[in-house]
């Protein structure tokens, strides 16, 4: 007989199914514990088991799965919890916001794209016209519209001031020409929030305007970029004489720079992802205990278990830090700190997940079930995918600059 010490794949984070209080519960009162349980119960029914498992393994979720979750959340009144109540927000306390985000990650909900609810929505309800608010905001909350964000251009890196995609004012419409790149979700987005140059000014930052428009306008071509993780979430967008209706103008002409900065300030919020990290840590322990790693004795690696204990302590510090900082209200340095440490924690966990499967880390893409490595396939994609976390939107280098500015001037 072939030795069959392979156990079937155990969905990680199973312990979170139970309602035994964990270390987060110990920080709460009965009211918040009840709220947390309510969110968790909702998510356990809204996210199918097989989707949770794929999310755990770092495999991509489909647009329709994500839209289904967003719709369900919206029906529950949780489509955009952090928005002002007049625009469909929840009026939750910072602690409730934290718990909601935490449970999304801790229950392996598919990652909700930040572009609509987190980034474009706030710009529209803060600077947009009555018509824009009435039309776009409900569609963002319901998941009906997917957004992408047309900021980056090839060669401009994080330096938005050197963008060159331009829009000519042609009266009832703008004529847009140029290229955007590294645009996440452009291929499946319904709308775009686009930063364009409308005039040349002395100061490089002046002369920008924000436009919102549909991605199916004539003259828009999206070309997917293959990522190092094998995914196609990145794209370049090419605009050739695209006629954008004047109704797509956000706020005032020439003030786009300010709106774009406002948008990016909201980027860090929610990116700590401590709930997801906690679940990844649980998965890590499961893998390590399965002795996929070749310890000197065939037992789980002692050095690795020490590292797991270390990361557990660091993650607890991050969780508590997040609770403390969010309870103090919005603060750019705090948002940057949580973004930096949260992204580094997630990246480190994906690296440890690769390590935890030992030789299984060699695999990439689909692995036939005849290989033991089939069960743990995905860890390397997830690791490579997570590299983006310190880079996209605002890089961790710039976040450190921001923190230094608040500390040192």
């Amino acid at each position: 007989m072939v030795p069959e010490n392979v156990v079937s794949f155990q969905p990680a984070g199973t312990h979170l199914d139970q309602s035994a209080p964990d270390h987060i519960d110990l920080l709460l009162d009965d009211g918040l514990r009840g709220f947390r349980l309510e969110v968790r119960r909702f998510l356990r029914s809204a996210v199918p088991e097989d989707l949770r498992e794929r999310v755990d393994r770092g495999l991509p979720s489909s647009k329709s799965e994500i839209v289904a979750l967003q719709r369900a959340l919206n029906e529950r009144g949780w489509g955009a919890p952090s928005w002002p109540e007049e625009h469909g927000g929840t009026g939750w306390t910072p602690m409730q916001q934290f718990l909601f985000n935490y449970e999304l990650g801790a229950n392996a909900a598919p990652p909700l794209p930040p572009f609509g609810t987190g980034m474009v929505g706030p710009v529209i309800y803060t600077f947009g016209s009555r018509e824009q608010k009435d039309f776009y905001l409900p569609r963002i909350r319901s998941g009906e519209d997917w957004w992408c964000q047309g900021f980056s251009e090839s060669g401009a890196g994080s330096d938005l001031a050197s963008l060159s995609t331009r829009a000519e004012d042609a009266g009832d419409h703008f004529l847009v020409n140029g290229e955007k790149t590294w645009t996440t979700h452009a291929l499946c987005a319904d709308r775009i929030f686009c930063l364009v140059r409308t005039s040349k000014e002395e100061r490089k930052q002046d002369g920008f305007t924000c436009l919102v428009f549909d991605m199916d306008l004539p003259g828009i071509e999206v070309r997917p970029i293959l990522g190092i993780d094998g995914s196609h979430s990145l794209n370049s967008i090419h605009f050739k004489d695209v006629e954008v209706p004047r109704s797509g103008l956000v706020g005032d002409m020439g003030k786009g720079w300010g709106y774009a900065r406002f948008l990016l300030q909201n980027e860090g919020i929610g990116l700590t992802c401590t709930g997801r990290s906690r679940r990844q840590l649980a998965r890590l322990k499961t893998y390590a205990d399965r002795a996929m790693m070749q310890g000197a004795s065939g037992r789980p690696s002692p050095s690795f278990l020490t590292e797991v204990a270390r990361v557990d302590a660091e993650l607890t510090a991050l969780e508590v830090c997040e609770i403390r900082m969010r309870s103090h209200g919005p603060n750019p340095a705090a948002a940057s700190m949580l973004k930096v440490r949260g992204s580094e924690m997630q990246q480190h966990l994906t690296a440890l997940l690769v390590d935890s499967v030992g030789h299984g880390g060699v695999a990439f893409g689909p692995v036939p079930h005849e290989s033991d490595h089939a069960e743990t396939a995905g860890v390397m994609q997830d690791y490579l995918h997570s590299r983006r976390l310190s880079m996209f939107g605002t890089t961790n280098e710039i976040h450190r600059d921001i923190i230094a500015r608040t500390v040192l001037g």
């Binding site: 920080l27 278990l305 607890t316 450190r400 500390v407």
Partner: protein
Amino acid sequence: MPGTFLDHLAPSEDIRRLTDAAAGFVADRKVRLRSETAGSDLSEWSGIAQLGWLGVCVGEGDGGLNRPLREACALARLCGEALVTMPYIGSSIVAATLLSYVPRRALVETLLSGIAAGNRIVTVSAQSDGLPNGTDVRVQAEERGARLLLRGRVAACEYSDATTDVILGLDAPGGERLLVRLPTHRKGLSAYPYRAVDGRPLAALVLKEVEVEPDEVIAEGATADAALERAGHVASAALCHELTGALDEICKRTVEHLKEPRQFGRALSEFQVLRHRAADMHMDFEMVSSMADLASFAAETMDEPRRQLLKARYVATCHGRRIGEAAIQMHGCRGMSDETAIGHYVKRVLYIGAAFGGAWTALDLLDAEGEASG
């Protein structure tokens, strides 16, 4: 009603009153940081006494204030900021807590009211991984009539000329744990003083046929274990806060140093590498500070706070040293001089880390607990 962690974070009126009243004392201490005079500087002790801190963990019946742990920890944090070298935390927080958890009797009441009144300074020494210097006790007891006879030694305990009483944890002839009180002038008990890295006075104790009266055995067996465990939890939380106070000063002083105009005609704060290091230092500080809050919350409210306290000790020890090293490096040669304050603060951080037994110890204990609980 302890409330949530967020309630714990919000400073109460009482904490504010205590810390506000101490502002002058703390500011004065910061100005005249002198590790050389530490320990014998009894004026410092009377300064603390005047602030009304001594009875913070003593019940009202014994002349104390009976404040919740979070308030005691706020004072511990000030001890870190002001580099108090007298054994305030060891006596008024740790020993007082221990004494509140043993059966009440005349001696215990005397000690508690003495602590609150400022005429007793009590040091606790026992094998316990939560207590500072908790592996350093090797004392054996044998029965001699109604009395116990102790022999052995203690490698390190907080101890100065002003210390009046020692509470020792040791194993009874039958193997169970005992807590005994010894006055420091007891025949056969000798103290050999030395200095900790942060200048605080320590001593090795040697016990040669030291007699213990029956009423000096203040707890036995499970009661002794529980009191020691509780004292250890409180000590861990208080030291995390003390360390946070010192780190806060380190961060502030490093920022000031970086902002001064200096080499190459520029302030050091213009160098991006140092700016990022300052950013990392502040992030590390936030982590330690968060874990200190968690530690006091856990010790105050949780039935089984041990795992949270070990995590807090690990983060405080590990990040604390990293912050200290970065601060000295960014201070350049000045950081190497004992004439600037930064080194004194770093030494306080190092003392607490070593008193905890170091970061590796905490990791090992966490790992072992993780296996047990997983």
